[in-house]
């Protein structure tokens, strides 16, 4: 079997997130839907209800009063974030397995994704054209799903790939993946996202997060938000092993995101705080 076939087979084998997550996406995509429909769907699923309430009651969102109903939680978090929580809760192979090919321990992929999600939600406030913070959160959460597929195929070559990024043999880890496999975790993530039936905007954010300039103009606001959020997550020490920091900043983000140097430290402090509280809330029983 060729590498391309083997990767395609692996994509097809990845479990699809719960029917619930897919149903939620369908409801939300319909512009005329009501909040009630979302609330009703979440309420039919006991474990999702628990997860959503955990996030709503974490210190990152706490507004002085405990949130006990799904309708309050959905209002607080936004619909897209609820979808993100639903996808994560039902895709443990993607988020919670170690990524051996990246020399990445169990839990690192999840932490990298969560931190990128929080960073994207915060950065959405600086977008020149308005972006929903919940959408940015979910795009950040999902941006690296392709790594779960790619990991097994780069195992054994990882050291060489990381070295090649250091000595300029390739421009970044994406190119190293492409050189070895003919594809990369962003493209594979896109294929996975399409199979899962995610909306095109989220698929584009996954496909273009390392090459935002290549994205369709109408997606660029979100794509650059995720591009920067990924960087912030990695410099914050939350990477996925050998590829951590081996990527390149596209400075054209300035056309889509207005962000000043003086704002960085407070932003990083906020992200660090919310990351710790969301992580503890989600991991707590």
């Amino acid at each position: 079997m060729s590498i391309a076939d083997a990767i395609a087979k692996k994509i097809a084998e990845q479990p699809i997130p719960s029917l619930m997550a897919v149903q939620l996406l369908k409801v939300i995509e319909d512009e005329d839907h009501s909040l009630k429909e979302v609330v009703r769907l979440v309420e039919t699923d006991a474990s999702l209800t628990t997860e959503v309430l955990k996030v709503a009651n974490s210190a990152a969102y706490y507004r002085g009063q405990p949130v006990t109903t799904i309708s309050r939680a959905v209002l607080l978090l936004g619909e897209m974030m609820v979808v993100g929580v639903a996808i994560c809760a039902s895709s443990s192979i993607v988020f919670h397995a170690p990524l051996d090919g990246y020399n990445s321990q169990k839990g690192e992929m999840w932490e990298h994704s969560l931190r990128t999600a929080i960073a994207a939600r915060e950065l959405a406030r600086y977008a020149r054209k308005s972006i929903s913070p919940g959408l940015a959160f979910t795009a950040g959460l999902l941006h690296d799903i392709g790594k779960s597929v790619i990991s097994g195929f780069i195992a054994g070559s990882t050291e060489e790939m990381a070295q090649s990024c250091q000595n300029g043999g390739v421009t970044d880890f994406i190119e190293a993946e492409r050189k070895l496999l003919g594809t990369d975790h962003a493209e594979v993530g896109y294929a996975l996202a399409q199979r899962w039936g995610l909306p095109e905007l989220l698929c584009a954010a996954i496909r273009d997060h390392h090459q935002p300039a290549q994205s369709d103009e109408k997606y660029k606001g979100l794509v650059y938000t995720v591009h920067l959020a990924d960087l912030i997550s990695m410099i914050g020490g939350c990477g996925t092993g050998s590829d951590s920091l081996a990527y390149r900043l596209d400075n054209n983000y300035v056309e889509y995101i207005r962000f000043e140097k003086e704002e960085l430290e407070l932003l990083l402090l906020k992200i660090q705080g919310d990351f710790v509280s969301l992580k503890t809330a989600i991991l707590a029983d």
Binding site: N103, I235, L245, L249, N251, L268, L269, Q272
Partner: protein, 161 residues
């Protein structure tokens, strides 16, 4: 093996032979390692941001988060656990990384390193070894018995500084 971990914004000192103090995945954060050969005490601080003036309340709760407040605390702690203030304190730094093509706006790693150096100068202290900058994520281990400082990075092995 007796390993004690130092999280983001935390610090500790140890003089327990056989113990290793370790901090993981520094990214743009900076580890400040202090070694007092006389009392055989070692300290480790994991700083995330340059300056506590952005949030005084947070600095009170977690002084180790910031270079300025963290270094004051680390040196106090070194004195409390055996460093008598005389003789030379050996200091090593690690971390302060960024990604490729970083611009000035987002290069917090560089700002962290500069802030740490500046705060150390206030005490007339300077690092004898620095493993900083670049685009690799580093972890640091300090062996209390020997005072050896080992850096590791996923896929790149370990080396001593």
């Amino acid at each position: 093996m007796d390993i004690v971990y130092v999280g983001v914004g935390e610090f500790l000192t140890s003089k327990t032979p056989g113990q290793t103090i370790r901090t993981l995945a520094l990214g743009s954060c900076v580890a400040v390692i202090t070694l007092d050969p006389k009392s055989r005490t070692a300290g480790l601080l994991h700083v995330a941001l340059p300056d506590s003036s952005i949030n005084k309340k947070r600095a009170d709760e977690r002084p180790g988060m910031f270079a300025d407040t963290g270094i004051v605390k680390l040196l106090d702690e070194m004195k409390a656990s055996g460093f008598d203030g005389t003789g030379a304190l050996t200091i090593k730094l690690a971390g302060g990384a960024s990604i490729m093509g970083i611009n000035n706006t987002f290069n917090i790693g560089k700002r962290n390193v500069l802030a740490v150096r500046k705060c150390l100068w206030r005490y007339r202290l300077g690092a004898v070894a620095e493993e900083v900058g670049g685009n690799i994520s580093r972890s640091v281990s300090v062996d209390i018995m020997s005072g050896r400082v080992i850096i590791s990075s996923p896929g790149m092995g370990d080396w001593e500084i």
